[in-house]
Subunit: 251 residues, 2 copies
Amino acid sequence: MSTGKTIRAGLIIIGNEILSGRTLDKNTQYIASKLGEHGITLAEVRIIPDIQDKIVTTIHALQDEMDYILTTGGLGPTHDDITVDCIAAAFDVPVEVNPEAFERLLKHYGSEEEFTPARQRMARIPQGAALIDNPVSTAPGFHVGKVFAMAGVPRIMQAMLDNVLTMVEGGDIKESRTVGCALPESQIAETLGDLQNAYSDIDIGSYPFFHAGNVGVSVVLRSTNIPALDEATAKLITALETLGAQPQQID
Amino acid sequence: MSTGKTIRAGLIIIGNEILSGRTLDKNTQYIASKLGEHGITLAEVRIIPDIQDKIVTTIHALQDEMDYILTTGGLGPTHDDITVDCIAAAFDVPVEVNPEAFERLLKHYGSEEEFTPARQRMARIPQGAALIDNPVSTAPGFHVGKVFAMAGVPRIMQAMLDNVLTMVEGGDIKESRTVGCALPESQIAETLGDLQNAYSDIDIGSYPFFHAGNVGVSVVLRSTNIPALDEATAKLITALETLGAQPQQID
């Protein structure tokens, strides 16, 4: 059932390790897919360094444009984990120890001796924020305003994201149809352009591939308007057959 | 030899296919590493959709802060390839057919009949732009102002990037040292904080890992000041040995 509602999210990846090339970012793809399943469009991603000014200005920049802002990274116990302080600064609120987070972490570490000052840092959240549960390693994320702050370690982020998705409102779900064909992109460009002009509420993307000496194109159609999507897909297949492009619907 | 020069680049990934979760972005890691080898810091990445306004405002937003702006994606022959027009709009110049690109593409396709209007689109660049050679599939990228526009297909982008790196000025090269240890992050946090305070021109990052039931941390030190980097690395190893963290320099 279409509600005509578009929900947009921005993702801020706080990570020097991505910008240095040390680490391949796989969180974006995972988050994009999960948001999509909940009818939330990932509208922009910004990968930025662990620098307070940059984090604050990036949150402010996305604030008006997005319904939700997700962040990953910088929630751990070390000196380079500054996300809590930066998000508090962005909202102009103090940071405080959250009693619930403190209790959970104390229980997790088993004794006051083991629950060192560094570990106690992970019980700090911006004033007024709510916790995001972390079933993997206890130290919570948090939610304040439009912002949901998650860990950067993929399996912790994934567990937190499951919880975030219970806290946000989804919109209409975009479905996609993929049609592969055996002609180069430039030979089907006019057909795709005509189809796009006829269906303005469908995103039509074309992605060339090269393998085993063959060139071809995957055409991806995406929309929340499912009847239009199926109609356009059928028209595309017919038009590509006429061109001799041997189209095949892949999914 | 240190010149004290920091060169900063921003990367704009124009790609609905990344934001939808369909495609895993591997270009960021490749570009980050290559820029690093040339003494250029990748200072921010923005992944944005194929929407003209968004592309133009993103170029303008990075213009002042960055020495160079690299873009990937949107250079092909289809309706969703709008990068040329957007970058021209960002610089407020018209788009024109580049005679050199036109000749190369005509030769590549072999005849005027094969060089269809869709393919001729790939000879268009913003007025005043210079070509970036594409040894893989001929259709060039281009360079105008601080902006270097490259293809999104990884092997084409990689070939173009080799050419871009001959067109830009590099700065001091950051080296990195990585030290692994067998204690959780929270137990070495104070040591790392003290080291960071003592060496302000070194970026010290800590990255927890979990494998085969063991927890540990990789500590990465990065700097253009190589003597300081080696001194700090030696101090870190000594301090971690004192903690019983069994440090090992990995690279």
